[in-house]
Symmetry: D2
Subunit: 391 residues, 4 copies
């Protein structure tokens, strides 16, 4: 195989990462840490890993944090870290949705770059505030719409931008899971508990949790914006307080149309995020569960199977790959790419140079704001019986 | 391989078929004839194959029709055939949409069973009239929603009916093609010409041509009815007079929800009819382009690949198969099943016996009426900016 | 969709077919009849359908044969048919392997074209005799290696011949089934009984029944010959008298190498005939269970999915198609193509014209002889502990 | 999604890893480092990364090694590290094949656990020597047949061991690549240079480089041994000095039979390692390029798609997973599992406890010896025109 894309760092030092949330038993926190480790551009050095002081302590010890870098309170961490000689370069916020805004605000104000899980916030006002703060401080604010880290998603985006598909007519995007097909929130599943709780999840369930990813993917790949949507939200599992399924009609600014389906009750589907984009010259299909292939379908010619870091892969997707084609990369590698790109952006600032342009593909606070606008629009539309609303 | 399902006829004689439309150069007429031949229960003996007398004559000769059974006018055929000792048992109407109603009316009145292509008619009034006439005459009136002839579509229907999926929550159905992605109607493509011409195709384009198949498939498999829909019809190819793409939200009588997408401008898609049904116990997926497998996904268990006439195939799908699993059957075999089932229904009448119950799965004039109602609802909804309308 | 390849006959009359074997309960006889019917170039008019006179009679009646064309003895049929004004043009021999040679000899001597199932005979001498007789009489002698009737198999052959793959290096061909994974021959399965009986099946089991198809496919697509093979035959089911699995190393005349695997005990496989050919410029993959796609893999470029009668399909595969891409064709259509091509060859003789050159792709008695040589070589090699033998 | 299998370490400290080979531009060294990092049980602290002192130095700096832990000579590293308070716990040897034995010997003698790339050595004597040394010292000696780290490979192994497939009859294993389809060794490809050079690669090319992986996978999953093989090695690319393709017949100790194909000239294949195992109760298929699914085919029942860490996944495969089903893991995660299991074995010794039994699935020096025996047998067989030899 060809030697390409090995990700050993060539920066002068590893960047120092702090984390808010992600203590023992958390899901996404562990994912962020694996992602940060993979390409060796980060070391986790500090954390306010839980709001429960004892759990914060034990969680920090699990992760070999130095005792003085284990915080019971993120505010204290935001106050102290900037004063340390080896303080953190960035903080990763991996708490439930409602608990993003406070630490994000605190660390921005402390002059620390922010990596925040999605959806950005549970209200549009909070989203706008963070956007404003990010702009004012000039700090990097990344939102982990991690699916954009997949090499072939980036290639899809580049192909659309280069006009390989011609004028985009149709976008079909969907994200189907089944893990909330029963009352998991009553069966001791912590993830299910907070994600179905309006107080912690925000005004939407499936729409916020995974619909935002689908929405982000559609806007990322097309480089277009959803201008209007008509959304039919529903809750199939009795007693649940938030939507667990939504069907939407989409109208894009460019005139393209499409549908968005997100579901957490689609029995038999695990994590079936899929996007299909059709232009007047070609179509393309990408599926997250089979991420190492991008099907490109030029008008009147046989579909081509573009393979990650293999034949047909372009410069942008090769740059986001670690190992040769045929050696599958997956979810963690794509997530790692986000972390690596953020590191590159920060390192460029530290070294007073321009960052690798591909590193700028990382979703920003503005993409986070779009996600919150999307949730808001979907909920409003649904309240109007799936009437059209602007996003 | 196991010997199963060979379709040699055991009826006393082949049934006699007449055809209206389907002369030289026609597409669907030739398909009907192959379908009728495959299982050897029919022989084509008469035809009014074209409204152009000379073309009718040559087309009849091509098909080895006896000269006296080649008609220039279907009315004459409807008058004369019933008086022949060996007159036709049934007529297949394979003309463009607007030209279904007149021959259907004529043959029903002549006491001849009717096999009619879809959509049944171009107006609801005509559809209702045919439905009424069929009821009054007691004749068999089949509408060739041929995709219901696929063995695994029938098994899917049976599995839903048996409760294998539990309560149905979601139905995603789509039918994507790309052959009208450019102005084919101006490039000498006869199929494109009439299918994009409101005078011949009716009030809808893609919605009528293929949307009706998707709609029929959804209602057939679920055994449920679409109560309401919100449809966003669009015409992407400039200058085209009918829709070439539609996105719809669906609400079923049972409370299930879903989407329907039909397109003739989805670059790279050939004939991608696909349905996914999700219940609270299991989900299933069937794709017309890969019709020999039905993916059944029980909650919490690995998906199972049920293979036509192979392991997991039930009685109903085996009965609609000709050859063992692993020996792929396709579109023509499924279409042939429709013809074979109609033959069985007619033979049972001739022999004063009950027909094989599976033969009653053939779509009837009522299914044809539903198709016309669907078209009507979709057009109305679209005129109201995708507002909800009843079907 | 585009109207292409509809197979309505334009010859002056349907050809008349007789059949030897294929009575009630037979498998392959029914397949031959469906294949002959599909494209409407044949009508079955005579048959010696069983060696049991009563069964012959009933079977003929089932098929609507005229009583005077139902024979209890193929010799009588061979004597009488040539003297009829409307006697048969060709005979299809669909008996078990050991019972091919006698009727083939009789009909050739009677001046009637022969369509014979495979393997041609159970001994090399008999195969040579039929080859000689066919040459002497100048009659058409087709052997139903039906998989060559698949459109994309023909395209694969044409692509190799055109040099699209460069010099062929590797051929991996396999044919895996599981229907003899248990002692089906003791469970009343008639197919299993004769196919595992040396007296009727010949010196080989799986090798003769399906290995010959794999071998034929490899030689057909590559246009090359297997010069030598080393074969490891085995019988996994205790008490079985013939091989039910074989692994072989292949060396082709051109220097290409490969393997052939055939099995009737590969649990979970239905009819998994698959071939992969690799040249120095490109590779290709075709699988019988998914026959509407041919994967073409040019060196250093993304694999292309060539679809039957769709984008990328060439003239030769389009000519063997009935319906547009996306409307799957299968096993029966491919088998029908063989019958249609034979009809074309005969019709050309009747009409004193050259046949369509594509019709000459039908496997001949020489291909049948190769199959018998292959069986002989495999058995000899296995007796020598998988030593190399010439084919 | 369900929270399962997050791999944050709970050991008291990260283990300390040294590396021999793997300097700038190397392929597999970078892979080992990513694998070691992912689950956070290792930190790389020392290295003799190149035999070129300057390159060793720069490579060490790239990796943030402390200057005093960057060695120009692995012998010095083997001498010094054991004397350090924070010396390495294990060494990873990632040099070309011929350069495994010397460092392996040195570190074993220095009392340091060894992780060695495959094939273990280039001669049987050397392999035996390392096996003996490992036994004498009692040290852990892992050989990175990394494909055994895939969760579903482990599940396949467990299913065979549990009898889910019944008695194994057939094993088809293959490993196809195309990256040596042309004279890459003359085009400046460093990987190609040494892998086609007998002095560095050993007596075999493709057989050693990837055939050993296929062989290991077959023995690992079946728990059986290949008793005899007949191998047809070939060199298709002119001027190449080692085999670039091999076909083999296999006979297992249990009576199972099979084939092994390995190729580096199979145009269009990237890294197509695939295994199919058929028993009298069921069959299974696993493909490295689509590693998140294991197809299980019980006799007479529909195939089941067992998904990594999803429905149907067993305890053993769940334990080797990091993230939920539907979130694809790939090559690096499987490789990481090997490193994590080695860490567990070492940690258990450090903590005087029994290791997690699953961690013992890591291939050992004995598996490495089997690989060298396999290479030796294949070369000998090929020299005897593919005659049978014992492995």
């Amino acid at each position: 195989m060809t030697v390409t894309g090995a990700k050993d760092s060539t920066v002068k030092r590893r960047l120092r990462l702090g984390m808010v949330g992600g203590g023992r038993g958390a899901f996404i926190g562990a994912v962020h840490r694996m992602a940060a480790r993979l390409d060796d551009r980060w070391e986790l050095v500090a954390g306010a890993l839980s709001s429960d002081p004892e759990r914060a302590l034990h969680s920090g010890a699990d992760l070999h944090l130095r005792p003085d870098r284990i915080y019971a309170d993120f505010n204290e961490m935001a106050r102290r870290e900037p004063r340390l000689k080896d303080g953190i370069d960035a903080v990763a916020i991996v708490t439930p949705n409602h608990a993003h805004v406070a630490p994000a605000r605190a660390f921005l104000k402390a002059g620390i770059h922010v990596i925040c899980d999605k959806p950005l916030t549970t209200t549009r006002q909070e989203a706008d505030e963070l956007s404003r703060l990010a702009k004012e401080t000039g700090l990097i604010f990344a939102v982990t719409h991690n699916y954009t880290g997949y090499p072939l998603v980036r290639q899809a985006q580049a192909m659309v931008a280069a006009g390989d598909l011609g004028n985009i007519r149709l976008v079909q995007v969907e994200y189907a899971q089944d893990w909330l097909g029963t009352r998991a929130e009553d069966a001791g599943n912590k993830q299910a508990e907070w994600r179905t709780d309006p107080a912690r999840s925000g005004p939407a369930g499936a729409v916020g949790d995974i619909g935002t990813h689908a929405f982000n993917l559609a806007e990322f790949i097309t480089g277009d914006q959803v201008a209007m949507l008509a959304a039919d939200l529903n809750t199939f599992v009795e007693g649940r307080r938030l939507d667990d399924n939504a069907h939407m009609l989409l109208r894009f600014s460019s005139g393209a149309q499409g549908t968005l389906w997100c579901s957490q009750v689609a029995t038999g589907q695990e994590n079936a995020l899929r996007i299909r984009v059709y232009g007047d010259k070609a179509g393309l299909v990408w599926q997250q569960e089979d991420p190492n292939v991008l099907t490109f379908m030029p008008l009147g010619a046989p579909p081509r199977l573009i393979r990650r870091n293999g034949a047909g892969a372009d410069e942008i997707s090769r740059a986001a790959s670690r190992i040769p084609g045929g050696h599958p990369e997956g979810y963690l590698e794509a997530f790692a790419q986000i972390y690596t790109d953020i590191a590159e952006q920060i390192a460029a600032r530290l070294e007073s140079r321009e960052p690798d342009p591909f590193s700028l593909l990382v979703p920003t606070v503005e993409d986070g704001v779009r996600g919150v606008q999307f949730i808001d629009a979907a909920v409003r539309s649904s309240q109007r019986n799936a009437g059209w609303v602007e996003v």
